[in-house]
């Protein structure tokens, strides 16, 4: 089990951080995810991959955290990596990515999850759908809605993304 923790701890942390946007909460969530996984290892159905199963636990744990947080009415504590860039264009660029990041935070949970699993975690549509316990069609819908909303948010704030 220790080997599995070492293998997946950073991936689980990434999901946790992108969902909760707070280092301390993400750390707690990683620990809780693995504890739940160990306790529930008997329920692991070998038809799905271990990674997908673990991600599902991570997703449920993060959703619980978000629920609790909403309950406590704690605002999001932004953890934007500090920029060491100095030039004006780099500062503007950095501002742009801050906007992108905050647009990600404004997404509904399921849409944010779909985007995190597909884009950041590199899960296929099938794997992401399994992890989110929904159909592939629903997963794609969440994903495309997320993209549309982010684009809309950036446009509204004067950031046009062009290829």
């Amino acid at each position: 089990m220790e080997g599995l923790i070492i293998k997946y701890q950073k991936q689980v942390y990434s999901i946790a951080f992108r969902m909760l946007n707070n280092i301390e909460d993400a750390k707690d969530m990683v620990q809780e995810t693995f504890l739940r996984a160990i306790k529930g290892i008997k329920s692991f159905n070998k038809k799905a991959s271990f990674k997908t199963w673990l991600y599902r636990i991570a997703i449920n744990t993060s959703l619980n955290h978000l629920k609790e947080r909403r309950h406590k009415d704690i605002g999001l504590n932004e953890e934007i990596a500090e920029s060491k860039n100095d030039t004006l264009s780099e500062i503007i660029e950095d501002e742009r990515w801050k906007y992108i990041k905050s647009s990600l935070e404004r997404l509904p949970e399921r849409q944010r999850l779909a985007l995190i699993l597909r884009l950041y975690e590199g899960l296929s549509c099938k794997e992401a759908a399994e992890a989110m316990k929904c159909s592939e069609g629903a997963l794609k819908a969440h994903y495309h809605q997320a993209i549309r909303k982010i684009r809309g948010f950036l446009r509204k704030n004067g950031y046009e993304i062009k290829g």
Partner: protein, 151 residues
Amino acid sequence: MKLKDEIRDLLPEYLKELLPKELKKDIELHLKECKDCQDELSLLSGLLKTRVSFPNEGFFNTLPQRIMASLDEIKEPFFVRLWAKLFRPLPVAVAFASLFLAIFLFFQYKENEPSLVGNGLYLEDFTGYSYYHKLAFLEEKELNSLYEAIN
């Protein structure tokens, strides 16, 4: 050539270079013509640049040990675990059912066992032979006195 929606579904894999060569070529051909997909690709690559703030490495180095330690803490006491192991509901139920069945069969057998007592005959000086065996060797007189004693 793939449809636009299919291409858009594959853009995350394209960005991460997870696609086979032919599919990659298809997407590149489509991207040359499709402004929407170019914009989406640009947005996705922008999103990919957002970084995760990791805690110091010490957190990850000690995580497995901490998890194992907290597992030990929440473990139930030894006797509770032993009880749960030894007395699982199904084996216990099977054991009790077998015991009751054995007791029931024993009494059934006892009830149906041929006996003189059940038939109103009783010999006080039973010496180890079966009642029938003993009766078979009785003289007529003895049989008559036995019959009188019974009645």
